[in-house]
């Protein structure tokens, strides 16, 4: 059952990314381009997504277990670590460069053309090497 719910959640995520226009790299890049043709759409996407999630977190606060009886994720860490800052800065630069982040790059896999596979291959390499770099940090 867990896998079925994860699949349905994935359907909503993919449909949401598609409907919002966030798989269009131009819209994402124009959102970040405050000195160009600035596109505010992403703010509405983020705002729209935060509303149901804010309610969900209120439900989490009142419950001990999930609807399937497992534990909620541990979100007690509140440290702004150097990993968080450095990683987010590098992520932001890459996000601007291609106009793609992990969710939309997967959502667009069936209609993004061969160039998207180049991005996804590099994305996978970047993800694969991170634990090796993290342990040396």
């Amino acid at each position: 059952m867990r896998n079925l719910y994860a699949f349905v959640s994935g359907l909503f995520f993919g449909a949401g990314l598609f409907t919002s226009g966030m798989t269009d790299t131009k819209k994402v890049q124009n959102w970040l381009d405050i000195f160009g043709e600035w596109d505010p759409t992403l703010a509405f996407v983020l705002g729209g997504a935060i509303i149901p999630m804010a309610f969900a977190w209120r439900v989490v606060a009142k419950r001990q277990k999930t609807l399937l009886g497992s534990s909620f994720p541990d979100v007690s860490d509140t440290t702004i670590s150097k990993e968080l800052v450095i990683g987010s800065a590098i992520f932001g630069a890459g996000w601007a460069l291609a106009g793609l982040c992990p969710g939309p790059s997967l959502a667009a896999v069936t209609y993004g053309g061969p160039e998207l596979f180049v991005f996804l291959a590099a994305l996978a390499v970047g993800m694969f090497v991170t634990p090796m770099i993290k342990t040396r940090f």
Binding site: S9, G10, F12, V45, M53, V60, P73, F91, G103, P131
Partner: protein
């Protein structure tokens, strides 16, 4: 288009429903980089089926929508160097920071998480600064 913000808000609500489902039913943070990264580096192999199920839905829904609604142009760069550097940066950065726009952005900001808000401020600022450098100074994109 003028109606873009409406589609943005409707799509955003669907993303929020997706994240709420995964949190309340499965007890997972809906973070695309975490779900994919755990499969890529092996750290999430214990629940690989749950991760693959989520990714299957994430790929399938947009595919069906391209058949019944519209097949959008994603305006992706044709510069291989740009795509490779961007992919490496997004892959490394999101895993190093333990989250991206979905995990830190949607799931973090909605519970007023210090780390989620901090990460979002950093990647938005870095993205806006990178846009100035890559587009307006170097003319790369």
């Amino acid at each position: 288009m003028e109606q873009d913000w409406i589609f943005g808000a409707i799509g955003g609500l669907m993303i929020g429903i997706s994240a709420s489902m995964l949190l309340l039913i499965n007890g997972r943070i809906m973070g695309a980089s975490g779900i994919l990264g755990g499969l890529v580096d092996g750290s999430g192999h214990a629940n690989a089926k749950e991760r693959l199920s989520f990714i299957s839905g994430l790929v399938l829904a947009p595919f069906v929508l391209t058949l019944v609604w519209v097949r959008p142009d994603i305006h992706i760069s044709d510069n291989l160097g740009v795509l490779i550097v961007a992919g490496l940066f997004v892959g490394f950065g999101s895993r190093f920071a333990n989250g991206c726009t979905s995990g830190h952005g949607v799931c973090g900001i909605s519970r007023l998480s210090v780390r989620g808000i901090g990460a979002t401020i950093v990647y938005l600022s870095a993205g806006a600064f990178a846009m100035i450098v890559f587009r307006h100074v170097l003319g790369l994109i």
